[in-house]
């Protein structure tokens, strides 16, 4: 574990793309930053994506250099596998209590050789691959993980000591316990990201029940070169799908499940995934069932037109329900809006539900910030100060304020870092210090 000082200028909570950018921008202005991530690796959702829209650049090729820069920046201290317990204002800024979860591996001794992982006799579903892939009970989080340090999942450990026996640096430490860490921070940036509504939130779509109804982030992993199968195949039997459906707004723009807002990114990632599927599997049909296509950013309308030009079928329709056939194909009962509301039953090999985006973290009293009606952090002056939370000295970046794409998250991270820098400057001037 990195040496932790007692005081930092800035605390950034969340080391996805927005948190990393905010930390880099703040540290680049000469402030000492503590960057805290709850997962065993930094990188957030972005490091697991295949491509970004509309450029179709490799996502990890953009994300991993930032991860490395964060890890090596002399003014950034990185704390992974750590969660915020409590944050409160003091006379000198904020008093922060963090809890570092036990990895059962001594970070400074682990060389990331994965010999423990290869020696382990148990395989378990890999969260990074949304359960489609496997890892051993002790494992390096993923190929691009930073830090490249193993973590042991005690839930699946068979206690045979195979990992400790294989470790060349004697870094397996079964005595580790959750560790409380207390620091002071002058300003705080919350970049706590997103998660998706549960796959089974709309029972009529069979998510979580039918194995070939999947999560769009799982599809990203299937399309990634380092994904769980190495190819796009359906989970029921490894068949290369010849017909894939995307069901849009499957958990957003829907008051019945408490997500009345548009998740903004779903139309674009469905189009992007469709293009990538067609590039690798030109004979595979991709159909996107949608209420309307929202191509909201620069170059996005052209991207939509390109997708249509490349053979993606974009169908205005309402999917009423999905049922499973005996061979695990999926039958969609669909109301085709552009055909006068005609109801049809259409078979597909695989269905991706474009699930709604919800906040990745809720403070539940851990931090003194207010939450908006939609569950994301409240921004009292959205037009004038889009990175300022309801609490002075606490700033917000990325999807923590609402669904947005990667460019917007990065821009907002820069704004949050600038607001935090100005706030720290004012605080230090008031205290008579010199920056």
């Amino acid at each position: 574990m990195a040496e932790i000082k007692q005081e930092y200028d800035g605390l950034v909570l969340g080391a996805g793309i927005a948190g990393m950018q905010a930390a880099l921008d703040l540290a680049g202005q000469g402030f000492d930053v503590l960057l805290v991530e709850r997962a065993p690796s930094i990188g957030g959702v972005m490091v697991g994506l295949n491509k970004v829209f509309p450029t179709l650049d490799c996502s990890s090729c953009i994300c991993t250099p930032r991860m490395a820069e964060v890890a090596h920046h002399e003014r950034i201290t990185l704390l992974t596998y750590t969660e915020l317990k409590h944050l409160e204002r003091t006379a000198r800024g904020f008093s922060v209590t963090l809890v570092k979860k036990p990895r059962y591996v001594v970070e400074e001794d682990c060389i990331g050789c994965a010999k423990c992982e290869l020696a382990c006799n148990v395989v378990v579903p890999h969260e990074f691959d949304y359960g489609l892939g496997a890892h051993a009970a002790v494992y390096i989080p993923h190929g691009n993980a930073i830090p490249q340090v193993a973590v042991l999942d005690p839930q699946y450990c068979m206690f045979d000591g195979a990992c400790a026996r294989a470790c060349p640096t004697d870094c397996i430490d079964f005595t580790q316990q959750p560790e409380e860490i207390n620091v002071q921070a002058g300003a705080v940036i919350l970049a706590t990201g997103l998660k998706l509504v549960p796959l089974d939130v709309k029972k009529e779509y069979g998510g979580g029940k039918y194995v070939n109804v999947m999560n769009p982030l799982a599809m990203e992993r299937l399309q990634s070169p380092n994904g769980p199968y190495g190819h796009v195949m359906r989970p029921s039997d490894g068949k290369i799908p010849r017909s894939i459906a995307y069901v849009q707004c499957a958990g957003s723009r829907d008051k019945s499940i408490g997500v009345p807002y548009c998740s903004r990114i779903c139309c674009m990632y469905a189009l992007k995934q469709g293009i990538m599927i067609r590039q690798h599997l030109p004979e595979t049909e991709v159909t996107i069932y949608h209420m309307d296509i929202r191509a909201f950013g620069k170059g996005y309308e052209q991207f939509y037109r390109r997708a249509v030009g490349e053979g993606i079928r974009v169908v205005k329709a309402k999917v009423a329900r999905i049922t499973e056939e005996p061979n695990k194909d999926l039958k969609l009962r669909v109301e085709l809006i552009d055909e006068g509301g005609r109801v049809a039953e259409i078979r597909h090999d695989l269905v991706v539900l474009s699930q709604g985006v919800i906040p990745g973290w809720k403070p539940d009293g851990a931090a003194p910030v207010r939450i908006d009606e939609d569950g994301f952090f409240l921004i009292p002056e959205m037009a004038a100060r889009p990175a300022n939370s309801s609490h002075e000295g606490v700033f917000v970046a990325g999807v923590a304020t609402g669904p947005k794409d990667i460019p917007d998250a990065i821009v907002e991270a820069g704004a949050a870092a600038m607001e935090a820098a100005m706030y720290l400057g004012r605080s230090q001037a008031r205290a008579g210090g010199v920056q």
Partner: protein, 97 residues
């Protein structure tokens, strides 16, 4: 690097107790893994097969066959061996069984 010399065997005993020992759930999980691994290896000893072919020969569900097969592939026990229609074929790597 830390200078602490760990007595991991002693530590492991305490850890095992603290985590509730090897529960029936853990035993069942490991047994399933062993059974699938053995069944897959047994079928592939006869030559490269697709997931449905392995499932049919072993009588085990194809989704679980795929999951365990991919775990075995990740850890170097299985390799791809071309395609058969809409399915990839898999073989034991280096004659392993």
């Amino acid at each position: 690097m830390s200078e602490i010399k760990r007595n991991w065997r002693e530590d492991l005993k305490i850890f095992r107790e603290r985590m509730g020992g090897v529960t029936q759930e853990r035993k069942d999980w490991q047994k399933e893994q062993r059974d699938y691994s053995k069944a897959i290896s047994g079928v592939l000893e006869k030559g490269a097969r697709t997931v449905p072919e392995i499932a049919e020969a072993s009588g085990l569900p194809s989704d679980k066959i795929l999951w365990h097969l991919m775990a075995m592939k990740k850890y170097g026990k299985i390799a791809e061996a071309g395609r058969s229609g809409d399915y990839f074929r898999y073989e034991l790597k280096g004659g392993q069984s």
